[in-house]
């Protein structure tokens, strides 16, 4: 039996999976809308957490946070999460769900998924996908970052679901246990927008996140001229990867959020949101320019241009601050 599954490709794995999953459970909601209602956009520069010796730079909320905020905000939407101690039980639970014709979201490690190009297979433990059927020992998978449906052998999927290390998925499986028939957009959109703006803007006391985090990164880039050049080059390349690599929708999630603002503007008929969407698009374009600068610096052996990159970041920080201030008291008129 081959089951039909409507696979809508998306930019980000988590929001894309949830969007496809909810559609199969009868709730039509777009990827940007999920990202927006989950207040997903942020910035964080975590110097202490190292990935391959380089600090973590995040442009979105931590994994799972978006789904949690989403199910808090939308009345009547509940998600069921399950993790497993034993891989056998985890695979059995998955098979049971699929036997009932229910699609489920899974947290996996990219490294063990054979359908990814070899160059992209890193040990990233928080990749989301939707499994919707099983044929023989092959699982049919809707992976939102791919334009087409994919498959994975049982053994590979088992290893991907039970990979170890930071953010270990422990076979995490999730599906909506209650789905509302409609969403009260007039109530939830302003709420989620205000939350996002306050979290990143003036009301944010944390020096490493939001606008403050961007400035801190700029400060660190300024200092790179004095450190080991090999490290500095790696650092610049690392920024580009964190910002643009698969799953960000471009410009470190700024474009997804702009798409959300536009969709919201159309639903609520709000001119403010429409303007803000354009403003964020401009900010996103600045981020893209910043990525170009970083990529150039990552190839330069003697980087004299670090102040340029830092200046670009300070500019972005100012632009984002203005943007957040505009939205932190957003109400529908």
């Amino acid at each position: 039996m081959t089951k039909e599954f409507i696979h809508v490709p998306s930019a980000h794995c988590e929001t894309g999976s949830v969007s496809n999953l909810l559609r199969s459970y009868g709730l039509e909601i777009s990827e940007p809308m999920i990202f927006g209602l989950g207040s997903g956009m942020t910035f964080a520069f975590l110097k202490q957490i190292k990935i391959n010796g380089l600090p973590l730079i995040a442009y979105r909320m931590p994994p799972k946070m978006i789904i949690k905020l989403l199910s808090w905000r939308i009345e009547g939407l509940k998600f069921h999460y399950e993790t497993f101690r034993s891989a056998d039980k985890g695979m059995q639970a998955l098979d049971n769900m699929l036997a009932e014709d229910k699609a489920v979201g899974l947290q996996t490690s990219v490294f063990f998924l054979p359908y990814f190009p070899q160059a992209m297979r890193f040990h990233f433990n928080a990749h989301n996908l939707v499994a919707y059927a099983k044929e023989g020992d092959e699982y049919l998978i809707s992976d939102p970052v791919f334009s087409h449906l994919v498959t994975a052998k049982e053994n590979d999927l088992r290893r991907a679901r039970f990979s170890k290390g930071a953010l270990a998925p422990k076979g995490m499986m999730y599906y909506p246990s209650a789905v509302p028939t409609a969403i009260d957009y007039e109530r939830v959109i302003p709420k989620s927008i205000r939350f996002m703006a306050k979290m990143n803007g003036r009301w944010n006391p944390v020096p490493i996140s939001g606008v403050n985090g961007i400035r801190m990164l700029a400060k660190n880039i300024n200092k790179l001229g004095k450190t080991d050049q090999h490290y500095a080059q790696l650092f610049m390349g690392h920024i580009v990867r964190m910002q643009e690599e698969i799953g960000t929708g471009g410009a470190g999630f700024r474009f997804i959020y702009a798409a959300f603002l536009q969709e919201s503007a159309n639903i609520l008929g709000s001119q403010t949101l429409h303007d803000c969407s354009l403003q964020l698009t401009q900010i996103g374009d600045e981020w893209r320019d910043f990525a170009v600068l970083c990529a150039r610096l990552s190839k330069q052996r003697k980087g004299q241009d670090y102040p340029d990159a830092a200046a670009q970041l300070y500019k972005i920080a100012d632009m984002e601050k203005e943007f957040y201030q505009r939205l932190s008291h957003f109400k529908i008129n």
Partner: protein, 133 residues
Amino acid sequence: MKKEHTPHQPHPMYNGETKGVYTINEEGQYELSRTSGWDPETIALTQALEEIDRLARQALEKVKQGNSSLLEYYMYAQRMDLPMLASAVGKFQWQVKRHFNPARFASLSQAQLETYAAVLGIEVTQLKTLPDD
């Protein structure tokens, strides 16, 4: 970003896969378009892969000189680093580092070797043999 500015700079390492980016179409509406690659990104990814490759080759040199064990080589070859490997096997970094000693590595039990091989995504026999080239 406008839709017509979507970069199309494919690189063979993507195996022809595309990814989604949100762009503005002719009517001023956001939509998801597909990009086959973008040079700044390709540069960054290539650099990351080259760095891993460099560390792996360095480790292999050390193994051949008898200064390190194959565990260190396969750790890099399988795209991990010490903190990652240590947290994956549930050990402290210094405990894993001890197993970079060839003599200690040679005396590891089958169970320990299996744990390492599993998180690295290889077989125990491979973990104990030098790569071909």
